[in-house]
Structures are given as structure tokens and as C-alpha cells.
Amino acid sequence: MTNYIVPQNVAISDSGFLFQPATGESYTLNEIGKLIFKMLQSNSSGEQIIEKVCEEYDAEAKSVERDLEDFITQLKHYSLLKLS
């Protein structure tokens, strides 16, 4: 996870609205999606993200890890994560 970074200038609002100026595309994230994306922006590691989510939400680390993998796959698909 540390190999990926969020491209510069990607903006995300408090309501979860995300804008990528390089492509002009916009997205909506749910609350957890927003939390994770912000952590990725500040270069948090996968472990840190899982720990944080489990701290705030009623979730098991195992299922958060699985969902995080899927979420990252999607972000990569939308080019919202790139190789560092």
C-alpha cells in the first residue's frame, strides 16, 4: 500500500465529494470511503487505516482489510492512486 500515492490536486470535500482536476471527473464517497481516502492522501499505511477504522467503527480487522483491498482496486481503476 505504501507503493501508491494519491495524485496531487485531487480535492475532497467534507461531504465526500471528490474532484480530480486532471481529468475533470467527479465522484462521491461514503463516510468510510472519505476517511480512508484522506488517510491515503496523508500517506498512512494500510495497517494504520485498518486500525483507525476499527477504532471508530464496529468492524473486524479482517473484513476491513478485505474491503480496503477492494476499495484500493477501485481507486486504481479510476486513476485516483498511482505508483509512488
Binding site: 468510510i32 467503527y57 468492524a59 476499495f71
Partner: protein, 449 residues
């Protein structure tokens, strides 16, 4: 420590401009947590997953409703349960308890009906495949034999000569009702005079007693008018018999083929909005038959072999999520433990599928695959579906017709089938198969041991 917030998987949805759906988005999927008052999770705990579930109440309602609809439009109505649609004994017996006869299309189905205690005279024997042995049995037991082709007619003539028994026969007629495809592979054609020819041949033989006329114009018919045309053409044959031979047929059998509320793949609007109602089918058939202009006591009984429209919405498949996947296109996919081996109708219907537990509000365009290691195993190509996790359950609706007869023993064995009874108890009506069951019919030659 304060209560933690409810977890929901992270979701990102891309905005698409200029591609608004004029019908709006689908309302949030309501979970289907129970079937006829019995919790889905309890059913799975007791009987496993995947699981077929039938509703006794719904079957009886459908049959009573259909009978009422036809009886308010035509004086004499008799239903015959179409075995091929679902021939599980428990299902057949509900229909028989409701007064339906049996409509069978093979010797196997015929024997099944007899084993359930249905008298030969209450069995309609249809179909192009009737062996001489089967025909002889049917003749002896006074079943109603619906002749499909001339070769069968000659077989019956021979058998009745050999045994000096009388056969109760009707002919199946195929006719042009203006819909495509024309089902002209079954029975005798009306337009080219073949049907009249067959009737003449029957009337000449003293061992054959012509008791009815039969047609079945197709399946999943989306127009009621076709039935009016068919009924009116059969009525004209009945009039021909009365005028030429002073014979009044006991019944006119209009077959089945009424569409159910499942939406076909490729159909734009949901089935509920486009298929005619049972009332419209009944109205069309009755108005066609009234062209007979017979006296009231001479009016033939109307026989209906409705299958799909009576059973489809009474059956469900409960299935469990095996895996979540992301396809190469970024599209979400769900793998569940019920595939096309159990949901044969998935090849032509867009079955409605609902989660069996609260699954949040985030829906995503998803493909639902079955568990088979085969590319064809797709339950829904595209469906707006909430995020489910491994082990969650889904309920597939309207699976009652054809899935318990066309199911495949392919890669996996067939699971349990249960019925939720009117008193809310649950009965196992077919046990899941096991390896012993599978190996029972196999023979391994000594040379290969």
C-alpha cells in the same frame, strides 16, 4: 468507551453526466428477511444453502384465483396441472387437492400421476413421445390421449383393434394466431386442413371416441388476443364436428402459456407492466369460445393446462454469497452458491434478487455469478445491488416454474427443497442429493477397477 459507529464498506461512485436514467434510480433495495413469515436465516440454519422454498399458501391462492377468474366468464372450467412445470409430489398434490387433473407429456410423468392416485380418466396425456406400451396403458386406464401426429393415431388404431378396447382421444391442433414463433411442430395444422383430416380419420373408426380438441399456442404469451383467435378456431372445428357428424366434444383444451411476472432478458419494462392479466386471458378465451353458439348444456368444458402462471411466483431460491470480486473493468461481481444448474430459468429471465439482511444504502452496478466453474454461469448480467459480504444471504424470486424439472446435476448436486405450509410450519419436500445417490446408478466395469 462510547458506542462505535455502524460499519459500512468504503464506496466510491463515479458521477456520469448526461446519462440520466429517465426512470430514476431504483429505490433502495428492501431486504427480504423472511418467506411467508419464516426467517430466511432459520431456513438456512435448518436446511442449508442453497435452498428451494415454496409457499403452500401462494400456490393455493393462485389456483383458486385462476379458477374464479375463468369460472366467472365461462360456465364449465377444469384445470389440469402441467407436470413438466413442476412435478414434485408435494406441489402436484396441492393442485390435485384444489381439484386439478394431471397434464403429462411422458410415460414417466404419467406413472408419477398414477402413483399419486390420479385416475386415468383425470390424466391428459400430451406430447409427441408416447410409446406403444404407454399408449396401451393409457387406453386401458381411459386416460385422455391427445394425439400429436398421424403415426401416433395409427398406433392407437392398431392397439384398439388388437385389444378391442375403446380409446378416449382428442387431437392437438396447431394454428396461426398471428404471433411468432408459430408452434407448428406439435399437433395437426388447422389452416392447411390437416386437423380436419385427422378428425375425419378418427370419426371413421368406431374404437376411437373423440372427446375433445386441444391447442397450446406457445409459452410466455404476451398478448391475450392470440388466445381469442385460437379459441375461435377450435370453436369452428367443434362446429364442424357437430354439423358433419352430430358429435359434440366434451371439452376444449386451451393449453397454457400465460406469461408470469418474471421479466425476460432483453425486455425493457418490467413484466408486471407489459404482460396481460389472467382476467384478460380468460376474457379472450371465453369470447372466442362463445362463437360456438351451442346451447348452454352443450357447451364443452374449458380445460386449462396453466403451469408457469400458477407456480412461478410461489417459489424462491435462498443462496449465500461466496465471494466479492472486482472484474478487470472495475465492475463489481458477486459469486453466490446457486448457479444456472439450479436456476435454469436464469437463461431467459432477469430474476429479481434481494438481499436477506439489511445491507446499507450504497448500491452498485453488479454482475451476479453462480458457483460453477463455467463461464456460462451468470445469474444476473447487471443489477443494481447493495454491498454484501461473504456469508450474507440473497433471495431469488419467482423460481417456481421449470427449475425443479430442468435443474441440472452438473458440478454440484441438487439441494433440499422445502415448503412453508399454510400453518407456517416448514416441510422438507425433496431431500438434497448425496454421493451415494449419485453413484447408485453408475456401474464401473471390472476391467476398469
Amino acid at each position: 468507551m462510547a458506542d462505535k459507529k455502524r460499519y459500512e464498506r468504503p464506496v466510491i461512485n463515479k458521477h456520469y453526466s448526461g446519462l440520466m436514467n429517465k426512470f430514476g434510480s431504483r429505490p433502495t433495495t428492501a431486504p427480504k428477511t423472511e418467506i411467508d413469515g419464516v426467517p430466511v436465516n432459520d431456513l438456512v440454519k435448518q436446511f442449508g444453502s442453497p435452498l428451494y422454498v415454496f409457499s403452500e399458501k401462494q400456490i393455493r391462492n393462485n389456483q383458486r384465483n385462476a379458477l374464479r377468474i375463468f369460472k366467472t366468464r365461462y360456465p364449465k372450467v377444469q384445470f389440469a396441472w402441467s407436470y413438466k412445470t413442476n412435478y414434485l409430489n408435494a406441489i402436484c398434490n396441492i393442485f390435485h387437492q384444489e381439484g386439478s387433473w394431471a397434464e403429462v407429456v411422458s410415460e414417466f410423468e404419467y406413472d408419477k400421476a398414477r402413483k399419486l392416485g390420479i385416475k386415468g380418466e383425470h390424466i391428459i396425456f400430451n406430447g409427441p413421445d408416447k410409446s406403444r406400451e404407454a399408449l396401451l396403458k393409457a387406453i386401458k386406464e381411459k386416460a385422455k390421449i391427445h394425439i400429436d401426429h398421424f403415426d401416433e393415431l395409427y398406433d392407437i388404431i392398431e392397439l384398439t383393434q388388437e385389444t378391442n378396447l375403446k380409446a378416449q382421444v382428442a387431437i392437438r391442433v396447431n394454428l396461426d394466431v398471428g404471433v411468432y414463433p408459430k408452434w407448428d411442430r406439435f399437433g395437426f395444422n388447422y389452416e392447411n386442413g390437416e386437423a380436419t383430416q385427422a378428425l375425419k380419420r378418427i370419426m371413421m373408426n368406431k374404437n376411437l371416441q373423440l372427446i375433445g380438441l386441444h391447442t397450446h399456442i406457445g409459452t410466455y404469451m404476451m398478448t391475450a388476443e392470440a388466445y381469442r383467435i385460437a379459441a375461435s378456431k377450435l370453436a369452428s372445428l367443434a362446429r364442424f364436428l357437430k354439423d358433419e357428424y352430430d358429435t359434440i366434444v366434451n371439452y376444449i383444451d386451451m393449453g397454457g402459456g400465460f406469461a408470469s411476472h418474471n421479466t425476460l432478458i432483453g425486455q425493457y419494462l418490467p413484466a408486471e407492466e407489459v404482460v396481460p392479466s389472467m382476467e384478460q386471458f380468460a376474457e379472450a378465451i371465453a369470447s372466442g369460445l362463445y362463437e360456438l353458439n351451442f346451447k348452454v348444456d352443450e357447451m364443452p368444458t374449458l380445460i386449462l393446462e396453466t403451469g408457469r402462471a400458477l407456480i412461478d411466483d410461489t417459489g424462491y431460491i435462498i443462496s449465500t454469497v461466496l465471494a466479492n470480486k472486482r472484474l478487470s473493468t472495475g465492475r463489481r461481481a458477486l459469486v453466490i452458491d446457486a448457479g444456472v444448474n439450479l436456476l435454469f430459468t436464469g437463461f431467459w429471465y432477469k430474476h429479481s434478487i434481494n438481499p436477506a439482511q439489511d445491507s446499507g444504502v450504497n448500491i452498485e452496478d453488479t454482475t451476479i455469478f453462480g458457483p460453477l466453474c463455467m463461464n456460462i454461469d451468470v445469474i444476473r448480467e447487471t443489477i443494481n445491488f447493495p454491498s454484501l459480504k461473504k456469508g450474507d444471504r440473497v433471495v431469488i424470486d419467482y423460481t417456481g416454474a421449470y427449475n425443479n424439472t430442468q435443474w441440472m446435476q452438473f458440478i454440484n448436486m441438487r439441494p433440499n427443497v422445502v415448503m412453508v405450509m399454510e400453518d407456517s410450519t416448514v416441510e422438507l419436500i425433496r431431500k438434497s442429493e448425496n454421493l451415494d445417490y449419485m453413484l447408485n446408478r453408475e456401474i464401473l466395469p471390472d476391467k476398469l477397477k
